[in-house]
Symmetry: C2
Subunit: 234 residues, 2 copies
């Protein structure tokens, strides 16, 4: 029965299961972060390295946009790029991430010039961008479905950060707040596309593999950070 | 002196000279069109074939968007995609081009299914998209500078079409009207980028070559149409 098409429900369960098993919220570095155990230096390293991911989001989304065949889906997808770049100078996810960096003590300049960027983080993020560049567009969309797991993570993160890192100013958390609104909307569209376009079991399995790959990318970022900035074992 | 950097003025003159020599307004098929000598069948063939170009504009613009390094330039460039796809169902350059097609007697379906698309037109448009996919982003931007030559052409076309093809309904000309506003704004930004980014004579010559290439693409579309639907010699 391995080539039998999964129902939308069963397919969705399989996709969500990827998150339960592989999403980076279970990585020790992440666990420690949400327990308030990261030093200021470790938080800075996380923000600076993760910035390389953040600033590549419009790149991968423009690559996906170039492959989406219908105007209808492109009109929705393009909002992701607007969300990250903003429409004016002081807007957008890249800008709010930079402000998070400033709040934890990084300068704008040292985020843009990649001086803290670890090679393995660069490789992981570049692998993700190249996945979106070269793979069929539905797999690229499927890889974005980590957004299914974002809302719970973000609401938790905001509450935790306010409590355990009280020295981080409120405005530093703006990025996380904006994702509370954007991620569910993006995930809803992404999931709708993947459910609609995967018309064979093979395509469904490829979508599941794409989402697993994306979880590996996020996990690798934290692996690289852990190696350079070890966290305490429990 | 062949490797001496051109002044902005001299570089701009060279770019404009490409249009004077190679822009498709001088192609016999285009000349006949603006003289009112195309049959309804020829006009239909032009609209249907040119549609393949139109619907690839958001594709090439998303590819360029994925390569533009700054948020500032991306925020401006993204408007091109919005202009062509529209923000809602009944908007955008692709939609107004389809309405032009309907006005000259083509169905929506026969535009989307490419049944009138000539192989050489497909090859030319695909070559343009691949140019934008593979070439450095500044060359891709330079290739868009045919927009420098659009406003004069469009204002002429609207006046001519109203006179020589009175059977084309006013709403069919909406695409040309929208380009009167969009093209100068796009050309201004494109030219600004090319002048700013080309910091060696070699890069300036590559930009000029890119614009020449783009003129060849537009010219080839009309060559293919002429061969299949010959126009009278003068």
């Amino acid at each position: 029965m391995d080539d039998e098409l999964l129902s939308s429900e069963a397919f969705t369960v399989r996709l969500r299961r990827v998150g339960e098993l592989h999403y980076h919220d279970k990585h020790p570095f992440h666990t420690r972060m949400h327990e308030g155990e990261l030093s200021r230096e470790q938080l800075q390293a996380w923000v600076a390295n993760r910035f390389y991911y953040q600033r590549n989001i419009p790149v991968k989304d423009a690559l996906i946009l170039s492959k989406i065949p219908s105007r209808e889906d492109r009109r929705i997808w393009i909002q992701r790029i607007v969300d990250h770049d903003g429409s004016t100078e002081n807007e957008g996810g890249i800008e709010t991430w930079i402000r998070l960096g400033e709040t934890v003590g990084l300068s704008r300049e040292e985020m843009w010039d990649d001086r803290h960027l670890l090679p393995a983080v660069r490789f992981a993020v570049d692998a993700y961008v190249n996945f979106c560049r070269h793979k069929p567009w539905v797999e690229a969309v499927a890889s974005s479905l980590t957004e299914l797991f974002v809302p719970i993570l973000m609401s938790h993160r905001i509450a935790v950060f306010e409590r355990v890192y009280p020295w981080i100013k409120q405005e530093g958390l703006e990025y996380f707040r904006s994702r509370l609104v954007q991620a569910p909307r993006d995930a809803e569209h992404g999931l709708r596309v993947v459910l609609r376009e995967c018309s064979s079991r093979k395509e469904q399995e490829q979508a599941i593999a794409a989402l697993t790959f994306k979880c590996d990318v996020l996990w690798s970022i934290l692996d690289a950070l852990s190696l350079k900035y070890p966290v305490k074992d429990h």
